[in-house]
């Protein structure tokens, strides 16, 4: 009895999903074709396994360098913002003093400030300390993300029973030991969720690399794809190949982390 509607939903939704995925199909399928094939049969499957585009991209671009640049910036930034954010959340939980309260209020304001409003002064500041066109300069900029981390971690930490911390304190553990050996393991789930969410931000970010990075050896993957538009002006299959290679880490990340991405989305939106 329930079959007809159920089947129609399936058919319609799968067709719609395929339409949504069509741009991805289009670029992937064309990376295995010559330029002439791409122009004449844009949607057809490749007639044979043609890998010249991949060889071309790997030889003629600094994509490997860009990959390691992006990995370096993302890894350091995420660790940094998780440490700063979780320390601050812990400090707010244990510290009941006036300073702690003031910082709490101040961070609410900071949370509302869009990055664009501070972009020009930050640029001038980084020029002053020679951190423009530098990967470490990007890491400094991404450490602003620690405020978002602080919020989500604080919300999660409030659910940790105060008795656990109290018991540790009575047992003679100092605040640093409590933070490192008790709090950090306890808040692991939220650290993963926030870490996954912020990884997507840093890895995918375009505005900071585009404004702050100028030399090719310091490019991130996203910036490299953007600057490659000029390089591959007429060679579309090569450009699409570069795009596909850059998309691969994100696809793997999506498949492995899908659950955490969704839970981050839900928690980030309810608390953010």
């Amino acid at each position: 009895m329930r079959t007809p509607r159920h089947i129609w939903t399936s058919v319609i939704m799968i067709v719609l999903a395929c339409l949504v995925a069509l741009p991805f199909y289009y670029i992937v399928v064309n990376t295995f074709k010559t330029q002439a094939e791409t122009a004449s049969e844009p949607f057809a499957l490749p007639t044979h396994l043609y890998l010249q585009n991949y060889a071309n991209v790997l030889q003629n671009t600094t994509i490997v360098q860009s990959f390691f640049n992006t990995l370096y910036v993302t890894a350091i930034s995420i660790v940094l913002m998780l440490v700063i954010g979780s320390m601050a959340a812990f400090g707010r939980i244990v510290g009941k003093g006036r300073i702690s309260a003031i910082i709490g209020v101040v961070l609410v304001i900071a949370f509302l400030v869009p990055g664009q409003a501070t972009l020009v002064p930050l640029y001038r500041m980084l020029v002053g300390v020679h951190l423009v066109d530098s990967l470490n300069g990007l890491i400094v900029l991404y450490s602003t993300g620690s405020i978002f981390c602080y919020y989500l971690i604080l919300g999660y930490m409030r659910t940790v029973p105060a008795e656990i911390l109290e018991a540790a304190r009575i047992d003679g553990a100092g605040p640093f030991r409590i933070y490192a050996t008790i709090v950090l393991p306890l808040i692991r789930p939220i650290l993963i969720t926030v870490g996954v969410f912020q990884t997507m931000w840093v890895w995918n970010d375009f505005i900071y690399p585009n404004v702050f990075i100028s030399s090719p050896q310091n490019e991130t993957l996203v910036l490299q794809v953007y600057t490659a538009v000029g390089q591959f002006l007429t060679d579309w299959p090569s450009f699409m190949t570069l795009t596909v290679i850059v998309l691969i880490p994100m696809v793997v990340f999506f498949v492995v982390m899908q659950r955490h991405i969704v839970s981050g989305l839900v928690q980030g939106s309810t608390k953010g």
């Binding site: 159920h6 089947i7 939903t9 399936s10 939704m13 799968i14 999903a17 395929c18 949504v20 741009p23 289009y26 670029i27 440490v83 700063i84 601050a88 400090g91 510290g95 009941k96 003093g97 702690s100 910082i103 961070l107 509302l112 400030v113 409003a117 501070t118 972009l119 020009v120 002064p121 640029y123 001038r124 500041m125 602003t144 620690s146 405020i147 602080y150 009575i170 047992d171 003679g172 553990a173 100092g174 605040p175 640093f176 890895w203 995918n204 375009f206 505005i207 585009n210 404004v211 996203v222 794809v225 450009f239 795009t243 850059v246 998309l247 994100m250 696809v251 969704v262 989305l265 839900v266």
Partner: protein
Amino acid sequence: MLRTPTAWTRCKGLSLLATRPTWTRLRESAVSNIFLVPIAVVFVVLYAAPMGQSFFYSFTNFDGYSNDVKNVGFLNYQNIFSDPTMLAALGYTVFYALTTTVLITVFAIPLALIINRKFFGRNFVRAIFFFPAIPSVAILGLIWGFILNPLGDGVLNTVIHALTGLGPIPWLADTTLAQLSTVAVAVWTLTGWHAILYLAYLQSIPSDFLEAVRIDGANRWQTFRYIILPLLTPAMTVSWLLLMTNGLKVYDLPITLTKGGPGYATTTITQALIQDGIAQAQVGQASALAVLFLLIVGIVVLAQLGLSRMLEGRYS
């Protein structure tokens, strides 16, 4: 004599508990403030100091180099409202934020309702709709740039030509079409993401509750209008807040798709700010735009929070 660590700590803990002098508490509070130092540094160096500078320079003619900085009052702010480029950027950014918010909401809620049902291939459908939110928007913009290419070799034009015989449509070269194209691509990237957000709220509605409503004789539309929609208002306010603030901050998509053109048709506030403040070093002018932008975003956030309080108060 060997003592086990547990016995030792227990001893120490007991003695602490018995006679805890006030200075221990004071010291603990001071130590706990050490944990706040890193975030305080982040705030002062990366938020407060630049904000202060933006505010200060917005009333000056500072050009980034000369020491001859003069107070020009509100001149920079007046310039924004008399400069056609700036007005175009403000207009397009607001248009983009509003249309993406409306369209994504209109598509995401029905999508969430459908992918909440059981059907064959549901997980596949969910994953595919969600996926465009995962890669960098900048890269998606470049991909769509190829698809929408105004020349005859853009694949969408090729398909349209093959099906209908129409000549190339200037998706990204015509003012109105370029503006609509950027919005359409944004809808494509974000609808699934927001549908998953709504889905999370839908799943928290107990199914026997909906069953009871149905038994009471409510039809599909009534169930949606009077039961589901009110229960979705918290999700809606969150989704709108994200869409509006991110829409106002937009930069990646128009610049990778159209480079802000044709002319200034798809130039955003952020792009104008970067051009003025960094490329042309008109720091005073860019700072005024930054302060104005901060105010607009602040007003939108406060209005949204007020609206969500009102709606939640009305429905609960």
